[in-house]
């Protein structure tokens, strides 16, 4: 069974009624009970929205409704069917969607109550929702406008020329080691690597050695295994080099080649051996 799920049109130009999904060419507004929609597909669909206001705007737009005159009952019904669908598919519902559902339900219930002699200054229960929808819509439009502005890297290319030969070379920024360490700590705490990242346990000397071994392999296509070890470094140096080699094998950075048992082992950059 094939299923297509439609997101909002990127340009937002299309306003025609769109079914939720097309199954074997048949438009479908709610999925039959036995239909299995891959949750991934629905997630993709929902991710196309920036939140409940965006979804509501889409529901309004696709029926060519004026925001100022939302038929609350109809919109609520459609909105709730989306929520039901998400529940059926056991998607985690973002709290914002549920809050919006509650708001819609509240507006609807207020509108259903008979109003004895409607007074002039009684506020339309939809007013707050309409205000929010309008407010959101104008910034949604503003975002599109900003995206359409010519910008550096896309349409605008600032130019420069080589500075003239000068007595003193332009000063490069100075960096204190402290700054570097603070930056690293910042990144670590953000990525929460203090607690999770196993690679952090590797001694730095191994990582440094990995770079040095790669450097050697860049200089020559094949390097004999034993040439990477320096006796002068002592046992620790040998272990560090060996760990670096193992780590790089695991990470697909290098290949080991041995033509036959007991023949010399060669290292090469990964992928280079076959060339």
């Amino acid at each position: 069974m094939s299923i297509e799920i439609h997101g909002p049109h990127p340009g937002g130009a299309s306003q025609e009624e769109m079914p939720f999904a097309i199954v074997r060419g048949e438009p479908l507004s709610t999925p039959p009970k036995d239909l299995y929609i891959p949750p991934d597909a629905l997630e993709v669909f929902l991710e196309a929205f920036e939140g409940p206001l965006d979804l509501l705007l889409y529901l309004i737009k696709r029926q060519n409704l004026d925001i100022l005159d939302i038929p609350i009952a109809e919109i609520t019904r459609q909105y709730m069917s989306y929520i039901e669908l998400m529940k059926d598919l056991r998607l985690e519902l973002a709290a914002e969607y549920l809050v919006m559902a509650a708001m819609l339900a509240e507006i609807k219930s207020r509108m259903l109550l008979p109003r004895p002699g409607a007074t002039e200054d009684e506020e339309d229960p939809r007013a707050e929702l309409i205000r929010r929808l309008q407010e959101y819509e104008r910034f949604k439009k503003a975002a599109e406008d900003i995206d359409a502005l010519p910008r550096v890297e896309r349409e605008i290319f600032p130019v420069s020329a080589e500075p003239p030969p000068m007595e003193r070379a332009p000063r490069l920024p100075d960096v204190e080691l402290k700054e570097l360490l603070l930056a690293f700590r910042e990144v670590l705490s953000r990525a929460d690597m203090f607690t999770h990242h196993h690679i952090q346990r590797e001694p730095l000397s191994v990582r440094e050695r990995m770079s040095r071994v790669l450097e050697a392999l860049n200089a020559a296509p094949f390097v004999e295994f034993h040439k990477l070890f320096t006796v002068e470094e002592g046992r620790r140096g040998v272990v560090v080099t060996f760990l670096a080699i193992l780590e790089m094998l695991k990470g697909h950075l290098i290949d080991l080649v041995q033509r036959e048992p007991y023949a010399p082992i060669y290292l090469s950059l990964a992928g280079k051996a076959q060339e």
Partner: protein, 236 residues
């Protein structure tokens, strides 16, 4: 200082600097004694802009000053210098940026209120790191939330001289246009697909009442909120 030399110095500095230069920065190229007055620098800039006509680049004034940039007519060829595609920004990021640009200074909570969803930390970080947005202060309420505003670099990046050059924001339409007599909805199928018995109580029975309301002519053309700056800002 003779005008030709002044022009050459400014031209050379703008090209060597690799960033926009303000009038103040251009003034500082000269020792106290020889410093031309600001009018002379402005004149030189104007002439440099005119000299560029017919060349592959133009002089442009953006947020943080003056810069030379490739003319848009030859940009399609020049862009082939880079293999990487220019970065694309998500709607969430652009909406957040738009709110900060048009509503600054604004707190994160205020952005979330309008967008109806949480603003991810990642977005704030990206905007800050690109130096488009910065904390311009703190609102004096409990928690002292940060207030965000845009930077000169934001203007530079989007080829703008001032915020006035941003596209105008659509005007909010008037809620008073809602007709109280049209605001009752027709009976729908109820919430969540279940029949809603209570809707029987409503007087309106026309299933299309919503459609009628929908077509009521409330649409107003969006009005311009900010006066658009009529002058172009390219110096030429």
């Amino acid at each position: 200082m003779d005008t030709e030399l002044l022009k050459k110095i400014i031209e050379g500095a703008l090209l060597a600097a690799n960033r926009p230069l303000s009038l103040e920065q251009l003034e500082k190229l000269f020792e106290e004694g020889e410093r031309p007055d600001r009018g002379a620098i402005r004149d030189a800039l104007k002439q440099l802009g005119e000299d560029c006509e017919g060349r592959g680049y133009e002089l442009k004034e953006v947020g943080s000053g003056f810069r030379f940039q490739v003319r848009e007519t030859v940009a399609p060829w020049v862009s082939r210098l880079w293999e990487e595609k220019p970065p694309r920004y998500t709607r969430a990021l652009l909406e957040t940026l738009a709110l900060i640009a048009y509503r600054q200074p604004i707190t994160r909570a205020e952005i979330e209120e309008i967008r109806g969803v949480a603003v991810s930390t990642q977005i704030v970080k990206t905007l800050t790191e690109r130096e488009w947005v910065r904390v311009v202060g703190h609102r004096d309420v409990p928690g002292r939330p940060a207030l965000f505003g845009t930077t000169r670099q934001f203007l530079d990046y989007f080829n703008l001289k001032t915020l006035d050059e941003l596209p105008t924001l659509a005007e909010l339409r008037d809620l008073d246009k809602l007709h109280p007599e049209l605001d009752l909805d027709g009976p729908g199928e109820g919430v969540g697909g279940k029949p809603a018995v209570e809707e029987e109580a409503v007087e309106s029975t026309a299933p299309d009442a919503g459609e009628v309301a929908m077509q009521a002519d409330d649409v107003q053309p969006p009005e311009e909120e900010l006066p658009r700056n009529a002058e172009g800002h390219t110096l030429q």
